[in-house]
Symmetry: C2
Subunit: 357 residues, 2 copies
DNA sequence: ACGTGTAGTCGAACCGGTTCGCGCACCGTA
DNA sequence: TACGGTGCGCGAACCGGTTCGACTACACGT
C-alpha cells in the first residue's frame, strides 16, 4: 500500500505517480486516469511521515495551551475549538501541547523535533520564556496575548485596557461614581498574566481621568470565589454601584451575592465587562459586555501563521482587537442614593483586593 | 543539525550515534560521552518525521472530538484536558481532530495517512460510522462511550443508566413520588447520543420498578433552555418535587427557574444527577451528584490504547465506570404536600418533553 | 531532411532517521 | 600459538515519499 505498489500496478514509475497526485509536472490524461483508478481501488493515501520528511514540512501546527491543572476558562476553550476549526479549513492538523507544570517535555518536542510547521502560543505572560525558546529555535509562531516588550514578535490580542476603559466610561456616563474591577486571581496576576495587568491599567486610567472612586478585586476563577468577593465588597464598600469584570467564571457567584444582598440588576447595581458572548447571554439579565471574538482571533492568528510559515522573513505584525460593547440589559443609571442604606447591615469588611487610590 | 553532522563531529558513524541515543546496542562509555557532548553543544534533537518513517510509529495519538460548532460541554472539555495530561505522562503527543460537519477530511487524514498510532474517539453514537471506518483501517482505537452493538470494540464509558437509576432511587428513598429527568437536547438524543438514551433507560427502569410518576424533559444545552424547560415543567406538572439531570449546562437556568417560582432547594425541590464535580460544587447549594471521573476515564482510555498499540491482537475490553454519588446538599425529604398550592398560579402548560407513562 | 522545442516518463538521489550483517580487535582458554 | 567468543563500531539497506536531470518521441518551422 505504498507508492511503489501503486506504480507497479499502474505500470508506471514511482515518480509518475507522485507527479500525477501533486500535479507538479504534466502527466498525460490517460496515465493519470489509470493511476487514479488503481488508487481508488486500493484506497491508497500517502504516508504523512514520509511526505513530511521529503517535503520538509508537516502540514501540522502546534497549539500550546496552559496545562489542564490550571483549569481552562470557557473563553480559552472556545478559542481552542476555533483554532481547530480554522486549521481544518486550511487543511492543517493541530498538535496539542500543554506547557508549564511538568509538561515541558511536550513543549520541547514541539519546538525542536520538527513536528510542526508553526505554533500558536496561548496565554502569553508579560515575561514569557517560551517566546524566547521559540524564537531561538526559529520556529514560526503567533502569540495570543503579548509580552511586556515584544521585539518583532507576531501576536493577536484583545485590547483589555481599552475595553475596560470604555466599560468604566460607559458606567460613568450612567452616573456611577464608585466602581469596582473584578480581576482574575491574585496568583495569576502576580505571575504576570497580561489581561489582568492591562485590565487594571485601563481601569486606573479611566478612574483617574474621570475622577471616580475605584476598587480592584482580585478574585479566583470560580463561582464560589466570585460570591465571596462580591459579598466582601458590598460589606466593605457599600458605596460601589457598578462593576466591570474580566472574570467570567466568577459571574454565577456575583449574581448570587447580589441577590442575597437584595440588589437587582440593573436597578440597584450595574454590571459589565469583557465576557464571551455565550456567557453574557446566559446571564440574567443578559450582560452588556464586550464580546470576546474567539472565532475571529483564531482565524486571524491562523492566517498570520500561514503567512509567516510561507515567508519567515516577514516583518512583525500585531493585531489588537477591540470588539464593540454589546448593549444588553445589565447596566442602568446609578441609583439616586447609595443603596447602602436599604441593605441589611453587616459588619464592614475590607474587600479582598484592597482599595485602589 | 542532523544525525550525520553529529556523527561527523564526534568522529563516528551515523549508526553509532543512533545506537548511543536509543541504547538498542551497547556503545562504549567513552564514545557515548563524546557523542553526548557534541549533541549538547549543538542542541540536537532527532527529526520526528524521519524517526516515525523509519520506526513505523509516530508516538502520537489522535483525539477525535465533536466539531466545535456543537459546543463542547464542560465535561467534554475536562476530558480533553485529562487526555492531554495522560498522553504527556506517556510521552505521547496528541493530534486533535474534529469530526462530523464538514471536517471529515481531518478525520480521514487521521485514519489513513499513518499520522497517529492510535485514536481516542469521543462522543460515540449508538450507530457510529467512524467506528466502522477505524476498524476497516485497522487503526487501534478506544471509544469514549459505546455504540448499541459493539462486536469486539474497546471502550470506556460511564454507566449513565445505572447512575440515573440510583439517583432516582435515592430520591424515592427520600419520599419523592413524582420525578423528572432533565435530558440533553432533542436533536442530540434523536441523533443517537448514547448517554441520553441510557439515562432515559435507567430512569424508566427506576420509575417502573419503584412505581413512581416520571417525566422526561429534553432540553437544550444552555442556561436559557434550562430555565424555560423547568418553568414549563413547574407550570404543567406542579406535582413534580425532584429532578435528576445529565444536562449540566442547563443548571444555571434550572436554578433561576426554581428561584423565580419561589422554591428553595432542597426544602421544596430536590436536585441530583450526573455532573462534573466542579459544577456540582459551584452550585448553590452544592449538588448531590455522581461526579464525572474524567481524569480516571482519560487515564484508563490511554492505558488501554497503549496496550492495543503494543498488541493489536488483544481481546476486546470494556470499562464501565460507576462513580459514587457524592452526598452534598441539594436533596432532601419530599415536601409534605405538593408545593403547587403555595406557588403563584400560572396557566398550566405541557412540559417540553411530554409525559413518560 | 534537419535542428529545435516540448510533453511525458523514467531512474536516481535525497530527506533523516533505524536496523541488520559483518569485520576487527581483544579476551581467555586449550 | 591457534581458536572461539565477545564487545564495539562501520557500512549499507531500508522506511515512503518528492524532485531533479536526462532521455524519448513527436510536432514544428525552415
Amino acid at each position: 500500500m505504498n507508492i511503489g505498489e501503486i506504480a507497479r500496478r499502474a505500470g508506471v514509475s514511482r515518480s509518475t505517480v507522485s507527479y500525477a497526485l501533486s500535479g507538479n509536472r504534466p502527466v498525460s490524461e490517460a496515465t493519470r486516469k489509470r493511476i487514479q483508478s488503481v488508487i481508488d481501488e486500493l484506497g491508497y493515501r500517502p504516508n504523512a511521515s514520509a511526505r513530511a520528511l521529503a517535503e520538509g514540512r508537516t502540514r501540522t501546527i502546534g497549539l500550546v495551551i496552559p496545562p489542564a491543572s490550571s483549569r481552562l476558562t470557557h473563553m480559552q476553550l472556545d478559542f481552542v475549538g476555533s483554532v481547530v476549526d480554522a486549521a481544518a479549513k486550511a487543511d492543517l492538523d493541530v498538535l496539542l501541547s500543554p506547557s508549564g507544570g511538568d509538561h515541558d517535555r511536550s513543549f520541547e518536542r514541539l519546538v525542536s523535533e520538527s513536528r510542526v510547521d508553526g505554533v500558536i502560543l496561548m496565554e502569553i505572560r508579560m515575561e514569557d520564556a517560551r517566546v524566547d525558546r521559540l524564537r531561538e529555535a526559529r520556529m514560526p509562531f503567533v502569540g495570543i496575548g503579548h509580552p511586556a516588550n515584544d521585539p518583532g514578535m507576531f501576536w493577536v490580542d484583545v485590547d483589555y485596557a481599552g475595553l475596560i476603559y470604555h466599560c468604566v466610561r460607559h458606567l460613568a456616563d450612567l452616573g456611577h461614581r464608585d466602581i469596582a474591577l473584578l480581576n482574575r486571581s491574585p496568583e495569576l496576576v502576580a505571575a504576570g498574566y497580561g489581561p489582568g495587568h492591562r485590565a487594571r491599567e485601563g481601569f486606573m486610567r479611566a478612574v483617574t481621568e474621570l475622577g471616580l472612586q475605584g476598587t480592584e478585586l482580585l478574585c479566583g476563577d470560580d463561582a464560589r470565589c466570585g460570591q465571596e468577593c462580591i459579598a466582601d465588597l458590598l460589606a466593605g464598600r457599600p458605596e460601589v454601584t457598578a462593576l466591570a469584570t474580566i472574570n467570567e467564571a466568577a459571574l454565577p457567584g456575583v449574581q448570587r451575592a447580589l441577590q442575597e444582598a437584595g440588589l437587582v440588576i440593573p436597578r440597584d447595581f450595574s454590571l459589565t465587562g469583557v465576557v464571551a458572548s455565550q456567557w453574557a447571554e446566559d446571564f440574567r439579565p443578559p450582560l452588556t459586555a464586550a464580546d470576546m471574538p474567539s472565532d475571529q482571533m483564531a482565524a486571524q492568528a491562523m492566517a498570520l501563521l500561514v503567512e509567516i510559515i510561507r515567508d519567515p522573513s516577514m516583518p512583525a505584525q500585531h493585531i489588537l482587537m477591540s470588539p464593540p460593547i454589546s448593549l444588553r440589559h445589565s447596566t442602568g443609571a446609578a441609583p439616586a442614593g447609595s443603596h447602602a442604606a436599604i441593605r441589611p447591615v453587616g459588619q464592614p469588611q475590607q474587600p479582598t483586593g484592597g482599595g485602589l487610590s
